[in-house]
Symmetry: C2
Subunit: 729 residues, 2 copies
């Protein structure tokens, strides 16, 4: 790719971005779209355009984003979102501080080098104007390389300082959230798994109660034995489906009342065949049929489908926090405990999985993930080699006339590999989420963290190393055969030639990705389509404009990939830093907007939303991965100095060691508090006495909630209450 | 070394053993030695020869050893000794079960092989009669090797089964000891370290009290702030020294009363120069001087030398067990907790060491240990090469006439390398104990476990690998230069040639080592010398015949070395197994005897004895190291099959993987309970209410115990009591 192609790609990206911003400005002024762009304002009963006129500055959202404080974000979107902003801010500061030193010093140093010699050695590769601004343009063993050494140290120390500050800050945020006087149900509960078979003559409930009653005579409240809810969930979902259909039929009937036509439907396959019936009557009948069936199934489930796992509730937060950290039984594979996740993110089906089953599942999943990482490498390597136009012309000769048209050719040349990459990456997250859930992790946030980790390794290994090494593999297959062991120098050697590829990738990601996200084109179209053709009731409409959650599982690894790329090139080709700054700066702005969107939606709708609060538990992972990126940066830069035949390159050796020590110290100092709750945080007192009945009820799955409130005694089968049971002396 | 030299060495070992046993029989009948041989009987007020006559069977101790049950051992010597016997029993069973299959099958198979071909390939090495009984005598790729493959599997599975059984058993022993209704002070206390500086206007004591009072409002009893006892200890030791000297002077005076001479001493350097004074008067005066000085220093220490560490006491065992496992502060480097060790094994000086200081000390110690392991390898490698007689003759020509005398030559040839090894190894344990203590570990038993681990790695790397590879290095330096990577095959290749060396080593260890231990020659001589020339008081006499503890820190790694050697040779040269059986069988017998000696001593003397109870915490380490030995065995045997050009050798590959899985499962299932106390074990109730005052007092170091019992209020400075302090609301 030459310089002009790079500029054109940059230009097109920017044009797309401008178009999207204009679209956003235009569309957001339309009254019909207000639910998509200003759900938070609507929900608070405010006018979406405040001043009331349509002269609102199209970039007013920027001012709004800046004016919201961290406390606002926590109040609106929870600690996890705030932590994500800490991440964005930290990376942004890191890049800004780096660019302050690197851009004014390194760029002139590289550009003014009279580089006849180095041009000789590099002549085999496409040499372009951009490369003149990079370290590749500096002569071998030139004294100017000292500046690059100092820059390497500067970036590292800036990163250490900011990461340390951020870890401290996040730890404060987490502690503040946990000491809050608000009663959170999950702070009073622990999850118990791997309960051994109950002794003869005791039910599972009695067993759990007597076990914990003995250990915690003063603070034990009651237990809820996990049941196999498969059948009851099926019936409940069927019932809910009919309830929705009934509401819909009634809405249609209400709309078309003047015509007096009662809605009808066919009861056969997919509503396409079979007898035609009156919808309202038919659904009401079905609902009346299902309610007693559900109640019967609830009773059977609670009595007979008890699993060897339970939720245990305590009167005190400290006891619950301490119990979740303590070994209860001598054999570690029985009575295993952990702190309870929020009710909404509990994965019930994973709770009864046995200890060794979980271990084996985890191992198997790790093997599958490793295989995936290795075998995805091949297609991506091929993509970066074959999606050059010359190859495409050979493979698909009918494209020739189009390709030969100059403008299209340049654009295609700039974008094809990146688009291929993005499509490939888009296929993966669902698969990784599925795999993480299969491991047996019982909380949604933990599943997402696990998936996010897998995705990170995937992107770094495949995208960064894959593309970098892959490009070189096709460029210089012979060189590798000679030195198969020297991967660091190989990596470093192939870095400069791929700089423009990644520059384009970053540009594409921030201009097009964030543009799309801000303009909300896709949700807008979906919303309008649904409103026109599908949604009939209020609930359906609200669901249609639900913005969903921020999707940390894929968002963070993508950002991680960007920061890895930017860090690795920061000294070798400092021109990449401004793009990184733009990416994270824009991200911060757009996300600030999105976060309030997502959360305000959740505040009102109160139905199931794929969202959760883990009190910043993902930060240790983020921190570790930034340090990993830093390590990769230090090693590759060191390797590149070696290629430049700089005799003092070993002066960089302390850096990777420092990074490892930094990571270790962070882990030692902070990590444990992110795994569990510190007791001096949990021991703050509440203003009001917590309502334990409410705490307990919040964990009952909806399918087991008694439809008739009077009949609550039925829960005593699996959801024991100590005061009523006489099972222990 | 040829076969006759091996037989002679075996013979001499056995003769030494017989002589020692006879000595034991003879000496133990002498009335004057009864304190050395039967301290336990004397302490129980029994006649040492029971029947009253001297016709007692000289091997009666064997019957006695067999008749004592595990419960007796626990009652007499504690769980740690019982666990050590479980180790000996397990290894013994393992070797017996292995020999039942291996000896009758493999020995004939190897001996009857018509091994012309293999003699060719092995011709360069000393080929002797013993080698005919080993796998080296079997032809390359012979079908007979299948029997050896099956044997390899058999030994491994026997080991897995017995280790699993033993781990379960030890876990039961530990649980039984921990639930015992006896009040043990350490079960009610936790150690708190890294306490942050107290806030303005609060003393350290108030800070600790208010911190734990808030978290455990119902179960907190009181705290004891750790003080810097250096000065007070010096004064106290001086005082105790004078008290001893006074008692001694009074004893001398009483003995020589009829002569009316009062004992005198010189007060100058070492009692050799200076003014002559009346001892009794002088020491009494000194004691009277020191007592007020000690009391003043105690007050200063308690008030002003408080350290950022404390012992915290709870009313309940469950709370203490749970508190020791829970994270208390957000920052892991503050308020770190751990379960309290027994008072007698607490290393006070290590308690106030800061978190990162401990981490750094640990790293530095690990580096030193690694260096020690590496640099000890060189002298040991040289020993095994130079202590052949031919080399000795060259180096020390004056020895020639002695060496050439046949008998001496053979004996020397057999023993020289082993004796050199044993001397080298004897120098090490103190150094490793010192290093482990420097790490900052606050309990003696943990220090010994840590030292034992270092010693194990040391012996395996240096003795086993060092001697094996060292011998080969000098034999065939050229072979290695060709294949520097293939260490496994190198190791396997050098195994058979060193078989006799290790056979002799094992024989020497069990005959001479255990003979010495049983006959107690060294303590006997020391005792008689002391009684004659040094000891004047009863207390001094008792100290003189103290048998000390079993010394697990060096005993276990030595045994581990033997089991590693025996396992590694078990299939390659099965003739080694009977020697292993003898070693561990004899060890079991002798130790049973020693254990009762050591413990009975402790029961009576009640002064400081270097002994402790860790409730079997060393078992996980033992288990892990046996599995490591097993792994080494499997890898070397696999390598040796490769050398035998056996095409089906890969059939052994699953074994090392199985060992790793076995180790992992053991760790997952059992290990956590050995690190900490399970709550359902700690929650058993006591018959009597524990006397918390006694629990608290048992932790006060002797130098801080008030000499005047009335003055106990002074402890309130550092040893706070909640009920009396008004520091928190």
């Amino acid at each position: 790719m030459d310089f002009s192609s790079f500029l054109i790609s940059l230009g097109t990206s920017f044009v797309i971005f401008l178009v999207l911003i204009l679209l956003f400005t235009f569309l957001s002024r339309k009254v019909g779209n207000k639910e998509v762009y200003y759900p938070n304002r609507i929900m608070r009963g405010m006018d979406p355009w405040e001043g009331g006129c349509r002269t609102r500055n199209p970039f007013a959202w920027i001012r709004e984003a800046f004016s919201s404080t961290e406390q606002d974000v926590i109040a609106m979107s929870g600690v996890d979102s705030a932590v994500y902003f800490v991440f964005l801010t930290t990376v942004l500061e890191m890049l800004v501080l780096a660019s302050i030193v690197l851009l004014p010093v390194l760029l002139p140093l590289a550009a003014t080098e009279n580089s006849v010699k180095s041009a000789d050695t590099m002549s085999k590769r496409a040499f372009n104007d951009l490369d003149k601004l990079s370290m590749g343009h500096v002569k071998e063993n030139s004294p100017r390389l000292w500046a690059f050494v100092i820059a390497t140290y500067w970036v590292s120390f800036v990163a250490y300082y900011l990461l340390w500050k951020a870890y401290n800050h996040v730890s404060d945020l987490r502690a503040a959230a946990l000491v809050s006087p608000k009663v959170r149900a999950e702070q009073f509960a622990i999850v118990v798994r791997d309960i051994p078979p109950p002794p003869q003559g005791q039910t599972r409930k009695e067993q759990v109660d007597s076990y914990f009653q003995t250990i915690y005579p003063d603070t034990y409240y009651r237990s809820m034995v996990v049941t196999n809810n498969k059948e009851v969930n099926t019936i409940w979902e069927e019932l809910e489906g009919y309830k929705k259909k009934l509401a819909r039929a009634e809405a249609i009937y209400a709309q078309e009342k003047h015509e007096g036509i009662r809605p009808t439907n066919k009861i056969g396959f997919l509503g396409l065949i079979g007898k035609k019936v009156d919808s309202i009557e038919y659904y009401s009948e079905k609902i009346n049929e299902l309610i007693p069936k559900l109640e019967a199934e609830q009773k059977v489930t609670l009595r007979e489908k008890q699993q060897p796992s339970a939720l245990v509730f305590f009167f005190s937060r400290v006891t619950a926090a301490s119990a979740a950290q303590s070994l209860h039984a001598r054999m570690v594979d029985t009575w295993t405990v952990m702190d309870a996740p929020e009710p909404r993110q509990l994965i019930w089906t994973n709770l009864p999985k046995k200890f060794y089953e979980r271990q084996i599942r985890q191992s198997v999943v790790y093997v599958i993930v490793s295989l995936t990482i290795i075998f995805y490498m091949i297609p991506i390597g091929l993509i970066s080699a074959f999606t050059t136009l010359t190859n495409l012309q050979k493979l698909l000769p009918f494209l020739k006339p189009i390709i030969n048209f100059f403008k299209i050719k340049t654009v295609l040349e700039a974008y094809l590999p990146q688009i291929a990459l993005i499509i490939f990456l888009a296929l993966l997250p669902k698969f990784l989420l599925f795999l993480s859930k299969v491991e047996g992790i019982p909380s949604q946030s933990h599943v997402e963290r696990a998936a996010s980790g897998k995705y990170f390794y995937f992107t770094v290994f495949n995208v960064f190393l894959g593309v970098t090494l892959g490009g070189t593999l096709f460029d210089s297959l012979k060189t590798i055969e000679k030195n198969p062991n020297f991967i660091v120098s190989l990596l470093a050697e192939s870095l400069p030639s791929n700089a423009t590829f990644f520059l384009t990738y970053v540009a594409l990601r921030f201009f097009v990705g964030y543009g799309l996200e801000l303009s909300r084109i896709v949700p807008l179209i979906v919303y309008h389509l649904k409103r026109k053709y599908a949604c009939k009731t209020e609930a359906e409409l609200k669901e249609a404009w639900s913005p969903g959650d921020l999707g940390f599982a894929t968002r963070i690894p993508s950002d991680m990939l960007i920061i890895t790329i930017v860090l690795c090139y920061s000294v070798i080709a400092p021109i990449i830093i401004p793009f990184g700054v733009l990416y994270f700066g824009l991200g911060w702005l757009v996300l600030r907007n999105q976060a309030s969107l997502a959360m305000s939606f959740f505040l009102v709708l109160k139905v199931y939303v794929p969202s959760y609060e883990s009190y910043g538990r993902m930060w240790p992972h983020i921190n570790r991965r930034i340090v990993a990126a830093l390590l990769l940066y230090q090693v590759t830069t060191f390797g590149y100095f070696g290629i430049k035949k700089f005799y003092y390159a070993p002066i960089l050796i302390p850096l990777p060691i420092l990074s490892l020590i930094f990571s270790l110290v962070c882990r030692k100092k902070f990590y444990h508090f992110f795994q569990t709750t510190a007791l001096d945080v949990a021991c703050r007192e509440f203003k009001e006495t917590p309502n334990m009945e409410m705490v307990f009820r919040s964990f009952i799955p909806p399918s087991l909630t008694a439809s008739d409130r009077a009949e609550e005694d039925q829960f005593d089968d699996a959801l024991s209450q100590v005061s009523r049971s006489a099972s222990f002396a």
